[in-house]
């Protein structure tokens, strides 16, 4: 292979890493939305507002990455919001009530979250429980456990630096929580595009039997995917705890729906096998910018709900339309 060929190939794979193939529709939508809000408000197009939006999407962004993995293999995870609340309560209990160092509290919270995901995955693969049912059950169980830890009360009293990690902007723009989110995005994109493990998810979502006959360990991969999704929910919970400087068991109610919406807006098909993290990030940004913009436009809260619903319908309809045309 000549040097120019190598160069060309590297260039193309670089371009691929930053392209959002399959999500061009949503990307155009996002850009139009930004232009519209820039014209309609004086406060939208500012560095500070941009940073606010990043702050505001951390939890949804990380959760939606996990949800993308699950939906790519043709599954669904309804338990992410509850698992997040459970992880938050474990974090608060270990750090504040039991007085353990933060690092142990974070490890404990992630372990509990991961375990919840592994159990869902195990039920789905070994007992053939449909993913919808298994994670619906986990949603209820995790929420109940989260409430049991403190009998329904919140926990406050984290060390001061914990909240500061969500407030102090290092280098003038990057809070620790946003940095974690960006790291998750980069790792997820690299995994999904360039690791054999990432490509396998597409095979499983496209047709699990073909994947199995192709030598892919479908069961193990499925359990790992649900575990990762729950781990990411736990991580989102830790960041949310930092942002709110408190934890409460009623956190994250209906977050699974936001996460699913972001994934779907980003062009990942609910039947699995197509889509990707790049699209999901755009989906998350669309929801984040939309919420932020509607607040800036002073749109009534009731109308906001209607608009977000319309955007979901629009995104999915556009994708279906594109499919039919091609």
């Amino acid at each position: 292979m000549t040097a120019t060929q190598t160069l060309r190939q590297e260039k193309s794979s670089l371009r691929e890493a930053f392209s959002f193939s399959g999500a061009t529709g949503p990307l155009i939508g996002l850009l139009l939305l930004c232009v519209f809000l820039t014209v309609m408000t004086d406060s939208f197009l500012s560095f500070r507002n941009f940073l606010n939006i990043l702050d505001q999407i951390t939890v949804l962004g990380i959760m939606a990455v996990g949800m993308t993995l699950v939906i790519l293999i043709g599954g669904i995870d309804l338990s992410v919001g509850s698992v997040m609340a459970l992880a938050m309560m474990v974090l608060g209990y270990l750090n504040v009530e039991a007085g353990m160092p933060m690092i142990i509290a974070i490890t404990g919270a992630l372990l509990v979250a991961g375990l919840a995901g592994a159990i869902s995955g195990f039920l789905i693969t070994e007992f053939k429980v449909p993913a919808f049912i298994a994670t619906l059950a986990m949603m209820s169980i995790a929420r109940g456990l989260a409430n049991m830890i403190t009998d329904g009360s919140q926990i406050i009293g984290f060390p001061a630096w914990f909240n500061m990690s969500a407030i102090i902007r290092y280098g003038g723009f990057l809070t620790l929580t946003v940095a974690v989110m960006l790291a998750v995005f980069v790792i997820a994109i690299l995994f999904q595009r360039y690791r054999a493990g990432g490509r396998m998810l597409y095979a499983i979502g496209g047709n699990p039997e073909v994947a199995r006959l192709a030598g892919i360990n479908v069961k193990r991969t499925t359990i790992l995917v649900y575990t990762s999704c729950a781990l990411l929910s736990g991580l989102a919970g830790i960041l949310l705890a930092a942002r709110l400087d408190s934890v409460q068991p009623s956190s994250g109610v209906a977050y699974e729906l936001d996460a699913i919406a972001a994934v779907v807006i980003g062009g990942t098909s609910l039947s699995g096998g197509t889509g990707g993290i790049g699209g999901t990030i755009i989906g998350v940004l669309i929801i984040g910018v939309l919420r932020n913009g509607l607040n800036l436009l002073n749109v009534s809260p009731f109308l906001q709900a209607v608009i977000i619903g319309l955007v979901i319908v629009l995104a999915v309809a556009a994708e279906t339309f594109k499919h039919r045309k091609s």
Binding site: N49, D55, V59, S153, I156, L244, Q248, S250, N298, S300
Partner: protein, 311 residues
């Protein structure tokens, strides 16, 4: 009580006459609501809305739908829009201190209404006098029940300021009547009528000889009243509520049902008070750390007048 209210109203009237000069300082006010489902909050919102319109102040309202994280994001966006004062009703029990800190960072007044975050107080805290009023409601229903019998309490969202204080007041009335036995207590999540219905239904099932129910909000009491009707126990049970919601007052005005008394909060007045306090703090004036507009004990015979004009 009525006289007291009139005095308060007069005081407000004087204040508002004096305020236009100061209002030049406050052009834009942000109001963060925990939810817009409860009539109690809607009334506060109406009070703020009407009053800011009168004064020519721009108002931004956001609804957190009971989610603390959403509320933090919304407050961030408010700050971006450059508000001059912040009226803050925390969503959820965690009563996150973060929005207060955000507003402090902008150097603008923070007025808390109904709920106060731990460890991060605003410039003033406006909330109905809960303990005394709850004591009066419970005392009233216990008396009506003949000073004895089994009693149940339907709490609001666990750990919130009103939940804690209303329980404190009611407990005092119970302790004064040794023949009253508190047999059941349960917490609701949303202070909503359907929760009140379900909780009361279970309580009546478990305690068929229950005589007294205190619902910590009118919505809960209304749900409990419905459950009592369904169980065919409306002749045996006496129910008290709290807040003076419009729907509850309309129900009470008929004086025909188990739910017979509430404490009407001056919700619209609280809204106006919040705006006034904001203007004062911005102008560098001193305001009371704690402002407590009284709630008025409203037996069903008195309910009619408040339906016509809510305080």
């Amino acid at each position: 009580m009525n006289i007291k209210l009139r005095i308060a109203a007069a005081a407000i009237a004087t204040l508002s006459a004096a305020s236009p000069a100061l209002a030049a300082e406050v052009k834009k006010v942000g109001l963060a609501m925990p939810n817009l489902q409860a009539d109690f909050f809607n009334q506060i919102k109406l009070g703020v809305e009407n009053y800011t319109k009168e004064l020519g102040i721009e108002l931004i309202v956001v609804d957190a739908k009971n989610d603390t994280a959403t509320q933090v994001s919304q407050v961030q966006d408010m700050m971006t829009q450059g508000i001059d004062a912040f009226i803050y009703i925390p969503a959820g029990a965690a009563a996150a201190a973060v929005p207060t800190r955000l507003a402090r960072a902008e150097g603008i007044p923070v007025i808390n209404v109904d709920r106060q975050p731990d460890g991060a107080p605003g410039d003033t805290f406006i909330a109905g006098e809960s303990v005394e009023s709850a004591y009066q409601v419970c005392k009233y229903i216990i008396e009506k029940a003949g000073g004895k019998g089994k009693m149940a309490i339907i709490h609001g969202q666990k750990g919130t300021t009103p939940e804690v204080l209303r329980f404190e007041g009611c407990k005092r009335a119970i302790d004064e009547n040794p023949d009253v036995e508190l047999v059941a207590q349960q917490y609701s999540q949303m202070w909503s009528p359907d929760e009140g219905f379900n909780i009361a239904q279970n309580m009546l099932q478990a305690n068929p000889d229950l005589k007294i129910i205190f619902g910590q909000a009118d919505a809960l009491a209304m749900g409990a009243a419905k459950a009592t009707d369904v169980a065919g126990m409306s002749d045996q049970v006496i129910i008290g509520g709290y807040d003076g919601d419009i729907a509850a007052l309309e129900y009470l005005a008929k004086c025909d049902g188990p739910f017979i008394v509430t404490a009407t909060q001056s919700t619209q007045l609280m809204g106006r008070l919040a705006v006034d306090s904001a203007i004062k703090v911005a102008a560098g004036e001193k305001v009371e750390e704690r402002q407590t507009p009284n709630a008025v004990l409203t037996p069903c015979e008195d309910a009619r007048q408040y339906v016509e004009k809510h305080p």
